[in-house]
């Protein structure tokens, strides 16, 4: 870091009037050249001194200390509060009471409270538990719907999270889901195989499709240095238009149908429903749990995951330690693609049972948010996937019951992302971390001041 000037500068300043010998100059006392209080505990934490440690939070301890999980929770809370205010702003009674707000402010406030809580109660009833259900099964139906919607979010989210841990921003879950969906669906309706084998093949085909589509990005990145963000975005388009093309070819289009829709998958190729036919919840959810466990193990207990994390945190040190960074890049993208591919399978073999050009919906993009909210940890992503599944499942019920537009859920989702991207904002709102705030602020003002012309 220091002394990084090229050699030409070393001898560029011959000052004849300067009699100090060069030999003496280089003889600066290394023996007493000191730094880093090893003998005494350093008066400042090393991070506070240098502040240039590459990478994000990784060790368990650090996670607890930085409390980033807490920020996620608070971000959700804050987004819900603001969402509630937005709901209230569109409410008729709130509008009416606001006209005499100074006369009777309590009317106004209770109207705001009512509007927000009614909507959120409806959201809850639509996503977790509906006490007015006619039977026990009906009461739990919302939760099953939540889990069904959460399934593709979780697996695709895991793909994004895993790549992120290896330092890659995988925007390509959408395309990976689509490619997986194409292959899985084709195996599902074109081949006619015995029960069990057929489904297995559907799953393998989907996973392979996603893995190839993702791995290709890794290959391009490793071999040519192409940036994964650009490549994955373009691959999303390629996948989407490829799907649209296929759905207009005889091989994929349903016979006797002019719409771009595939034949229905064979019954042998469909995920079995876990709790019987009254719910849509299918085997894909169990596989999503398994995938979460697997990714956790991969990241924390395997050499492969060690490589991923090392490359993600400090590629130069990884290279110096003999880790094959190119191979890691390709492998992590392939695994990320495979995970997104599981979402594609869950869609065609679980929820939809056909292939349309809307097979991926917006799952691939929501997966980025899910991974972000889950802090790129496997179980965090799992929880975030459940939350977003609940939002989506509950939004419909909320609109039916209270007339609150579904879009408010999208607003809440966006607010969550916004707050997660700005942890200091969240901490400031909740008045957290006053102790750590000062040095950080000072550091910032230092930069601002000095680059802004101070000194």
């Amino acid at each position: 870091m220091s002394e990084k000037h090229p050699p030409k500068h070393a001898d560029q300043h011959p000052k004849p009037h300067q009699p100090t010998p060069a030999a003496d100059e280089t003889a600066a006392g290394v023996a007493v050249d000191t730094a880093g209080g090893t003998i005494s505990p350093s008066a400042l934490p090393a991070s506070a001194q240098s502040g240039k440690l590459p990478g994000g939070p990784d060790t368990l301890l650090r996670k607890i200390f930085t409390g980033s999980g807490m920020v996620s929770v608070l971000a959700v809370l804050l987004a819900l509060v603001i969402g509630g205010l937005l709901i209230a702003a569109t409410d008729e009674r709130v509008g009416a009471t606001s006209s005499y707000i100074f006369a009777r402010p309590t009317d106004f406030l209770s109207a705001v409270w009512d509007a927000a809580t009614r909507s959120y109660v409806a959201l809850f009833q639509g996503s977790v538990f509906n006490p007015r259900g006619s039977s026990l099964a009906a009461r739990f139906a919302p939760m099953m719907e939540t889990l069904t919607i959460a399934t593709p979010l979780i697996t695709a989210g895991l793909g994004v999270a895993l790549a992120f841990r290896a330092g890659l921003f995988n925007i390509g879950a959408q395309g990976q889901i689509i490619m997986a969906g194409i292959l899985a669906a084709w195996v599902g309706f074109a081949l006619h195989l015995p029960l069990g084998l057929h489904l297995l093949l559907v799953l393998v085909a989907g996973i392979m499709g996603g893995a190839l589509w993702g791995g290709l990005v890794g290959l391009l990145k490793a071999r040519t240095g192409a940036h994964e963000v650009i490549v994955t975005i373009m691959f999303n388009y390629i996948a989407l238009y490829f799907l649209r093309y296929l759905l207009n070819t005889p091989a994929f289009q349903r016979p006797g149908e002019s719409n771009p829709i595939s034949p229905i998958l064979d019954p042998t190729a469909i995920y079995p429903q876990i709790f019987g036919s009254q719910y849509r919840l299918h085997l894909g959810f169990v596989l999503a749990i398994a995938a979460t466990v697997l990714v956790w193990w991969l990241l924390n207990r395997s050499t492969v995951g060690f490589e991923f994390r090392a490359v993600g945190a400090n590629p130069k040190a990884s290279l110096t330690a003999g880790i094959n960074v190119s191979r890691s890049t390709i492998l992590v993208m392939a695994i990320a693609g495979a995970l997104a591919g599981m979402s594609g399978v869950a869609q065609v073999a679980g929820t939809e049972k056909v292939l349309t050009d809307g097979v991926a919906a917006t799952y691939g993009f929501d997966a980025i948010t899910v991974a972000l909210l889950g802090r790129s940890t496997p179980w965090g992503t799992f929880a975030a996937g459940l939350l977003f599944g609940a939002f989506r499942a509950g939004a419909v019920q909320m609109q039916i019951q209270t007339g609150t537009p579904i879009d408010i859920v999208l607003v809440v989702q966006s607010l969550i992302v916004l707050f997660i991207a700005a942890p200091p904002l969240v901490r400031a709102v909740f008045g957290l971390n006053p102790r750590r705030k000062k040095p950080a602020k000072a550091g910032k003002s230092q930069q601002a001041a000095t680059t802004g012309g101070a000194a």
Partner: protein, 565 residues
């Protein structure tokens, strides 16, 4: 520009009129949470003095200066200027009061010219709000001429050598009428030549009435320019010293115990030559030969130290051996096995231990735990992994024993390596590389940014690795370190090997060789006296330059040398 009012005691006008300024820090205490970075520090900077704050990194020097510069608010204590208490809300206040600071890492916009950088933040404008750079240019010329800075106001900062960039920072402060100049570790980024030029500049500034607060842990420089030395340890002032005190005294004050500045090293007993480099050339992406036809060998049980000014091919040489360079010609033989063209993993598995020059970039993953960093290049080998399944228990077990063996000061092996101090980080890297049987050990800048106690320890480990019969290669830009460790010394200059000389070779000869003069010429020039304009040799040292007393005499002799200017 920032000109907020100074709440208590307006000293601004007074200090501008009076050219000299007395600065006093009284009972300054700064806490970060439970951490006490500064503990009731009292410092008085008399007008027109060079006042040195001496202390190890992490002792609290920089925190103190950031308090003085208005970047941190002190938890307790006050700052007095000309005996009037002031309080700074930000650097703007400090600057208005006549305090300027040059940070260790420069705060310059690389794509701006010198004049633009100097003007930045205090831009003067013409009628209509247009930028008036002419004014700034004139001021830069004035200052530059006055102190012999030799700075062109219209040069782009990114084109300037580091030493000149530093002068731009100093000009920035002077243009703003700084009467007290804080220099935070100014020599860390400079070559020895640039360092001496800076010391001259500091003396000139002093003679024109500017006080300087000089932060350093390099004793030679401190002794050369300081008028007063305040030693800080663990956030406290442990005492004052005079520049006449001996190096050993200052060092022990700084560290808090007696330190041995010399290394007890048995003579080498070189065995068979197992490591050979033949005609090695490394070609940079721009076609330049960063390493140019180098040949040397190292025997088992021998330390070859590679000396040279930073950036003369040392980095590329080690990277080529490790397999990190793409375009390598020639041959590198270890135990008669060719290493050129092998992957890094193959090279490491062939028994090469490597300590990279920049531990935070190449040696450690700051966010990984110490335990994980200790197996960074063996994570996939037993006992840490079976197949692809890793054993966290084994990793932690390994960490415990390494931490004990290398005396890494940490409460737990699970802490992130980035939270360790520089010396402890270096011990982690060293522990990792030395904890397996080696066929070759390469350490690049093994003690850069490491405190005295750790240096002693790390040097001993390197020597004991040699004594176990490993060929050892040390790359260092610190000549003292080279001379202390080496059994033979190779000198690199512009990618070429100037020569390999025996361990006892004099400091002046080595210095000349580092400037590209061959060993024979250097030796004769050395005896003939100062003949080379850029690398004059004024004294011929006795053969045993490791002697602490000699070093001290040299350090003491530097100020006289500088006064000629």
């Amino acid at each position: 520009m920032l000109q907020p009012p100074i709440p208590s005691g307006s000293c601004t006008d007074a200090s501008r009129l009076v050219r000299v300024l007395k600065l006093e820090l009284r009972g300054i205490t700064k806490r970060f949470g439970s951490l006490l970075a500064n503990d009731h520090i009292d410092v008085v900077v008399e007008p027109g003095q060079i006042h040195c704050l001496l202390g190890e990194n992490g002792a609290g020097k920089s925190t103190l200066m950031n308090v003085l510069y208005g970047l941190y608010e002190p938890s307790e204590g006050e700052i007095l200027i000309d005996d009037k208490p002031v309080s700074f809300r930000g650097p703007g206040d400090a600057m208005a009061a006549g305090i300027g600071m040059v940070h260790q890492h420069f705060m310059l916009v690389p794509v701006f010219t010198v004049a633009e950088n100097v003007a930045l933040g205090a831009e003067t404008t013409k009628a209509g709000g247009f930028l008036n750079l002419e004014d700034t240019r004139r001021k830069i010329k004035q200052i530059s001429d006055r102190y012999g800075f030799d700075v062109d106001p219209d040069a782009l900062v990114e084109d300037l050598p580091v030493g000149v960039q530093q002068r731009v920072e100093i000009i920035k402060a002077l243009v703003r009428d700084a009467r007290v100049l804080i220099l935070d570790e100014p020599t860390a980024v400079l070559t020895p030549q640039e360092t001496d030029e800076l010391l001259d500049i500091m003396r000139q500034l002093k003679s024109s009435g500017t006080s300087i607060v000089f932060i350093s842990h390099k004793l030679r420089e401190v002794k050369a320019v300081s008028d007063t030395i305040t030693v800080i340890r663990r956030g406290k002032v442990v005492g004052s010293a005079s520049p006449g005190d001996s190096t050993a005294e200052l060092a022990s004050m700084m560290v808090g115990r007696a330190v041995s500045l010399t290394l007890d090293k048995a003579p080498a007993s070189p065995k068979e030559k197992t490591f050979q480099v033949k005609d090695l050339t490394v070609i940079a992406p721009n076609g330049q030969h960063t390493v140019d036809g180098i040949s040397f060998d190292i025997a088992r049980g021998e330390i070859l130290a590679v000396a040279g000014v930073q950036g003369n091919g040392q980095t590329e040489l080690t990277e080529a051996i490790l397999g990190l360079q793409d375009r390598v010609q020639g041959s590198i033989l270890l135990d008669n096995v060719e290493l050129v063209g092998r992957s890094v993993k193959d090279v490491l598995n062939a028994g090469v231990g490597f300590v990279p020059e920049d531990r935070s970039v190449d040696g450690l993953i700051g966010t990984f735990s110490i335990a994980e960093n200790l197996i960074l290049d063996r994570y996939d080998q037993p006992p840490f992994a079976k197949g692809i399944s890793m054993s966290p228990a084994k990793v932690l077990e390994n960490a415990k024993s390494r931490i004990d063996e290398f005396d890494v000061r940490t409460p737990s092996g699970l802490l992130a390596a980035g939270t360790l101090s520089g010396g402890n980080q270096q011990k982690v890297v060293m522990a990792r590389e030395l904890s397996r049987p080696l066929r070759l050990f390469i350490a690049s800048q093994p003690t850069r940014g490491v405190d005295v106690g750790s240096i002693e320890f790390l040097h001993k480990r390197i020597v004991s690795e040699r004594d176990q019969g490993t060929p050892v290669m040390i790359i260092s830009t610190e000549l003292d370190e080279v001379m202390e460790l080496a059994d033979r010394i190779a000198v690199l200059y512009k990618g070429k090997l100037v020569g390999i000389v025996p361990a006892g070779t004099g400091r002046d000869v080595l210095g000349l060789m580092m400037a590209g003069i061959s060993a024979e010429d250097a030796a004769s020039a050395d005896h003939a006296g100062p003949v080379k304009a850029d690398t004059p040799a004024t004294e011929t040292p006795p053969a045993d330059t490791k002697d602490a007393a000699t070093a001290e005499r040299r350090a003491a002799s530097s100020p006289e040398g500088g006064d000629h200017v």
